[in-house]
């Protein structure tokens, strides 16, 4: 019975993110960044383990610190940053994110760092200029201290609304290659979320991931 319950649980959280909204400018800046260390620890998402560490405690920082030259301002900013990593299909993913708050609502601003194979070779080469790094945005919904729903912005719906002229925000769209990106400034992104942040239409179950703290999951399983 317990295994059936857990199968259902994992089935429910097995969400494919088809197209989250990405922006060229960050939402989180040194002026609005906040911390909430409850996000650190090991989380379970669709059966995989996600490790979240504060930036300076992370394996990522350990791997690059000899190359980093940080100013005081940089250090103060990065102290508030988090690194997330997980392994999926023999590939290890590394992400960085910051948090900020608008109207008592906490948002996560995520960007991709690297993806490596089991020999630590870089698998995806987006850098070197061939691709522009972008950020995604998600609303965090805490359900106690051990369960978080991460609501990514629904890129398909927002793009449709923008192209129809129903939502006004700076963007670039190339119909020939289908490229699309939001170019609004950090301040404009904040204004966008102040206006639409509580509008359920900009989110979708399809773009939501519910993650559970690993320890809590095992307690549930044993009970």
């Amino acid at each position: 019975m317990k295994s059936i319950v857990h199968f259902i649980f994992f089935f429910i959280i097995l969400v494919q993110l088809n197209s989250c909204l990405t922006t060229m400018q960050p939402l989180v800046t040194d002026e609005n960044i906040i911390t909430d260390d409850r996000v650190t620890g090991t989380w379970i998402d669709s059966g995989r383990e996600i490790t979240v560490q504060k930036f300076f405690n992370s394996k990522f920082y350990q791997s690059v610190k000899s190359d980093m030259r940080l100013s005081v301002a940089d250090s103060l900013f990065l102290m508030k940053y988090y690194i997330a990593n997980y392994t999926q299909s023999d590939l290890e993913y590394w992400w960085a994110f910051g948090l900020m708050r608008i109207n008592k609502q906490v948002y996560l601003n995520l960007f991709a760092l690297k993806c490596t194979d089991n020999e630590n070779n870089e698998v995806y080469f987006p850098y070197g200029g061939r691709a522009l790094e972008t950020y995604s945005i998600a609303k965090l919904e805490w359900k106690g201290n051990d369960l978080i729903s991460v609501h990514f912005l629904n890129g398909d719906w927002i793009k449709k609304m923008i192209l129809a002229g129903n939502i006004r925000i700076k963007y670039e769209y190339d119909p020939l290659f289908g490229s699309f990106a939001i170019t609004a400034s950090s301040e404009e992104l904040e204004q966008f979320l102040q206006k639409y942040g509580n509008d359920k239409r900009i989110y979708s179950d399809e773009y939501t991931r519910t993650i559970t703290r690993k320890d809590k999951l095992y307690v549930t399983k044993n009970n």
């Binding site: 494919q16 993110l17 088809n18 197209s19 989250c20 990405t22 060229m24 960050p26 930036f55 690059v64 190359d67 980093m68 940080l70 940089d74 900013f77 990065l78 940053y81 999926q88 299909s89 590939l91 993913y93 960085a96 995520l110 960007f111 991709a112 760092l113 690297k114 993806c115 194979d117 870089e122 698998v123 995806y124 080469f125 987006p126 850098y127 070197g128 200029g129 061939r130 691709a131 522009l132 790094e133 972008t134 950020y135 995604s136 890129g155 670039e172 190339d174 119909p175 020939l176 290659f177 289908g178 490229s179 990106a181 170019t183």
Partner: protein
């Protein structure tokens, strides 16, 4: 973003070809500008001892077509799939390439493809990158020789600083640095038409003289 800057520095070590290129969000061409020259198909040797390697030009396969979205997917029969192999003959990267005529000159528009070992990368990860275009001028000498000339980014920088050109761009973080040009295709074509004959508009160090290999 300092964390990103540091990581990019590490990755740049792996990136040679297309480094220092002028990058654009929009393609330099419209549908009517595309030409297809079947003589480009095949293997091409390029460079000198320090930067030699191979380009393979072939037609875009049905599988590769699925990677293209937007209207270009309907025009993919007019494009090339170009695989770049380094001097050890290892596949380094792959591109969708379109040969276009703008004014009196021919250009290539390079658009990166996801190579075989990148197919399994999580979609969420890939969505965090917007693929950019990189234009090259191509001078067709004869059926066995052509020259690729990379646009010189600093030439455009000077025009912008001297307010000799109005162009939309996004400054990128160091050390990738440089700019991503956000101007639409029509403005890009105006730039190419105006400066296409100006040798200073091209990077002398990143030009490739390519020779057709018939025995591959």
């Amino acid at each position: 973003m300092i964390i990103r800057k540091t990581f990019i520095l590490l990755i740049l070590l792996f990136s040679i070809f297309l480094s220092g290129c002028l990058y654009t969000f929009y393609p330099i061409f419209t549908e009517k500008d595309i030409v297809f020259n079947k003589e480009l198909l095949g293997f091409w040797n390029y460079g000198d001892s320090s930067k030699n390697g191979l380009f393979e030009f072939r037609r875009i396969s049905e599988t590769e077509k699925k990677e293209l979205s937007g209207n270009i997917s309907k025009l993919s029969d007019k494009g090339y799939f170009v695989v770049w192999r380094d001097k050890k003959k290892q596949v380094n990267s792959a591109y969708f390439v379109f040969l276009v005529k703008i004014g009196t000159h021919y250009y290539f528009d390079f658009f990166p493809s996801v190579s075989n070992n990148q197919i399994y990368v999580d979609d969420l990860f890939r969505y965090h990158f917007v693929t950019l275009h990189c234009p090259y001028k191509i001078i067709l000498h004869d059926k066995d020789h052509f020259e690729l000339k990379q646009l010189e980014e600093s030439f455009l920088d000077k025009l912008i600083e001297n307010k000799q050109i109005q162009i939309r761009y996004l400054d990128r973080s160091e050390p990738n640095g440089g700019r991503v040009i956000l101007s639409p295709t029509a403005e890009l074509q105006q730039f190419l038409t105006k400066y296409g004959d100006n040798e200073k508009a091209y990077n002398k160090d990143n030009s490739y003289y390519c020779t057709h290999l018939h025995n591959k």
